[in-house]
Assembly symmetry: C2
Homo-oligomer: 195 residues x 2
DNA sequence: GGGCAAACTTGCCTCATGGGCAACTTTGCG
DNA sequence: CGCAAAGTTGCCCATGAGGCAAGTTTGCCC
């Protein structure tokens, strides 16, 4: 599943990754909005036109990692026992996803720092998550003995919003505590009655 | 509070409203992405340059109503007794905000229909709400006897995500039941343990 | 190994857009 | 009534998205 078989596909993935990294690197160097797509394409040694073949815009390219991370989360979720209650499956998947690296990827931290300052990135991130919300909601409904579509969607939305919020908050505080802990705390807040 | 005193301010508001409505009208007629800013400005009898003075882009103009609605929500929240527990204050504010009209504004319904089909609108909406999240979180923290900043933010995010999700869901189902009910149900889902 | 088709990249072009600037018009107020 | 502030507009430019067609690379079958 990991190994993309054909050379063509491996190259494609490499290009995509290169563009993503070029975007991040330049954005951190010069500030996100002063970076042009031309510059990014240059940095990745492809034409500007090729950039457009891979990403819709700078935001999209920068947040490519987010897409991957969320995909990972979804995979973990699907791998969990089918009879596990939805919220527990979500929590455990999140735990697995965020616990993996002892110290977080510096690239990712850089991305988060940018995210905080640029509303256009926030918007794009939300759009990415919204696209996932449906799949997430389906997965949730599949585990619910009395599936209520709206409840499933709300749960999916709450889950994603919590992760996004906690991550943002964690980034702003230079908290020494690991992110995975913060996520668990946040999720438990979201899961317990707000009263 | 309602009456803007000066002529200047009334005119400004009228222009803004005209641009918003022109955007909605044209988007419903021709489809959101085939409408140009030029056409909108024309329809509202101002120059394209003036459009830019009021809104960042088409999405922003279309979602002007959302901004207003959210502002209303915040006002209602602030008007509530200071010692009311946060989640209850939120729920009641939402109830007041959504119960007001017996049958929803057809313009708003049109807007919601567009929202569903256009990710760029979803993104913009999320950005608007994100900008709001801080104020909401502050209001929440102010009501919490043991304020935990992260918890307040999570609560704000959960609240907004729930409203957004329920509204979207309600729009997709032609449910005969009123939106305000759906919102209350959704909020109660979000507030009760997901277990 | 050769060769063909599909996939990918690139350059070129066009149209839309955001926003700076400066001239002009409208409104507020002393 | 007249000036200053606020708002509008036209002009301009840098950037961007994406269609199209020519050129290049890769996959695959003979």
């Amino acid at each position: 599943m990991e190994t993309t078989i054909t050379l063509r596909e491996r190259k494609k993935e490499a290009t995509r990754q290169a563009l993503h990294e070029a975007t991040l690197r330049l954005a951190l160097e010069r500030g996100f909005d002063t970076v042009t797509v031309d510059a990014i394409a240059d940095e990745a040694n492809v034409s500007r036109r090729t950039f457009s073949n891979y990403f819709l815009n700078k935001e999209d390219a920068l947040l490519y990692g987010d897409r991957a991370r969320i995909d990972g989360l979804l995979e973990r979720l699907r791998a969990r026992p089918a009879d596990e209650p939805p919220w527990q499956a979500l929590t455990r998947s999140a735990a697995a996803q965020f616990a993996q690296r002892r110290e977080p990827d510096p690239n990712w931290l850089g991305q988060l720092r940018l995210l905080r300052r640029h509303p256009s990135l926030l918007a794009q991130q939300a759009a990415i998550q919204a696209a996932f919300e449906h799949e997430l909601a389906n997965e949730i409904a599949a585990r619910d003995p009395h599936p209520d579509p709206m409840r499933a969607r709300v749960m999916a939305a709450v889950f994603l919003a919590t992760i996004r919020t906690v991550t943002a908050h964690w980034t702003e505080q230079k908290t020494p505590s690991p992110l995975s802990e913060a996520i668990q705390t946040g999720l438990s807040h979201a899961a317990s009655p707000f009263t």
